[in-house]
């Protein structure tokens, strides 16, 4: 079971800012996870695959080939717009 967070517009598209997800064994990297989540709908798949979307695991930015572990917190981050 992992915790998935969707920020900014991704939360609206995913329909929730937070989801608990149990992942099949072959889903190992955050990119695998992104593809799995994208199976929920075309809009979310498209949004998660935007080139500027970043991903953090346990609040550290990681590359898309990063392998997450059970209980990890995985956050999908659209371009930031603070200030």
């Amino acid at each position: 079971m992992i915790k998935v967070l969707f920020f900014g517009r991704l939360g609206d598209i995913a329909g929730a800012e937070e989801r608990k997800v149990s992942v099949p064994e072959q889903v190992r990297t955050v990119d695998d996870l992104r593809q799995l989540l994208g199976e929920d709908g075309e809009a979310l798949a498209k949004a998660l695959n935007e080139p500027q979307v970043m991903v953090a695991v346990n609040q550290d930015l990681v590359e898309w080939d990063h392998v997450f572990e059970d209980e990890d917190e995985v956050a999908f981050l659209p371009p930031v717009t603070g200030g």
């Binding site: 967070l5 920020f7 900014g8 517009r9 939360g11 609206d12 500027q52 953090a56 609040q59 956050a75 981050l77 659209p78 371009p79 930031v80 717009t81 603070g82 200030g83």
Partner: protein
């Protein structure tokens, strides 16, 4: 010599933060305040008036990223105190959003560090802005100009210490 970083719903008070920086007896204090403009450039062409702005962030990660940005500023410039306050939640036109304040012995360091902190905050810290204008909500896109502003620091070496008086 200290750093103050806070993400909060509450408003902040410029004088209070300035007074805190004054205690170290610096020669120069630069403050930057960002406020909600009444003009909605980010929303749609035609620019409906902004009713409210909602700021979301990633608790924990935001503070960590802001601390990294401040560390980077301290490596580049010789500054004394650094304050970064950023509000989240729902804000109205005219409200204060963000305060960056830097004290230093000399003015050039304080100016450059403050400007750098804002450029990096805008492009790296995990805040997201939603505009509510004319009953319609929409997430703000990052501005290309902000990316450009941040990238100008990437080529440059530590600037600043040219010894100007304050």
């Amino acid at each position: 010599m200290d750093t103050l970083i806070r993400v909060q719903e509450a408003d902040f008070d410029l004088q209070t933060e300035y007074d805190r920086l004054r205690v170290d007896n610096p020669g120069a204090i630069v403050t930057f305040t960002g406020l909600v403009r009444d003009f909605n450039r980010d929303h749609v062409a035609g620019s409906a008036s902004v009713d409210t702005l909602t700021l979301q962030h990633y608790p924990g990660m935001t503070e960590k990223l802001l601390a990294e940005i401040v560390d980077e500023a301290r490596e580049r410039w010789s500054v004394i105190g650094v304050t970064v306050l950023h509000r989240v939640g729902t804000l109205a036109p005219g409200d204060q959003i963000v305060l960056v304040a830097v004290s230093a012995a000399h003015r050039q360091e304080a100016f450059e560090a403050t400007s750098f902190l804002m450029d990096y905050l805008k492009t790296r810290a995990t805040f997201w802005k939603k505009v509510n204008a004319g009953g319609e909500e929409s997430w703000v896109d990052m501005h290309q100009a902000d990316r450009a502003a941040a990238s100008r620091w990437e080529a440059s070496e530590a600037g600043g210490d040219d010894g100007a008086d304050i």
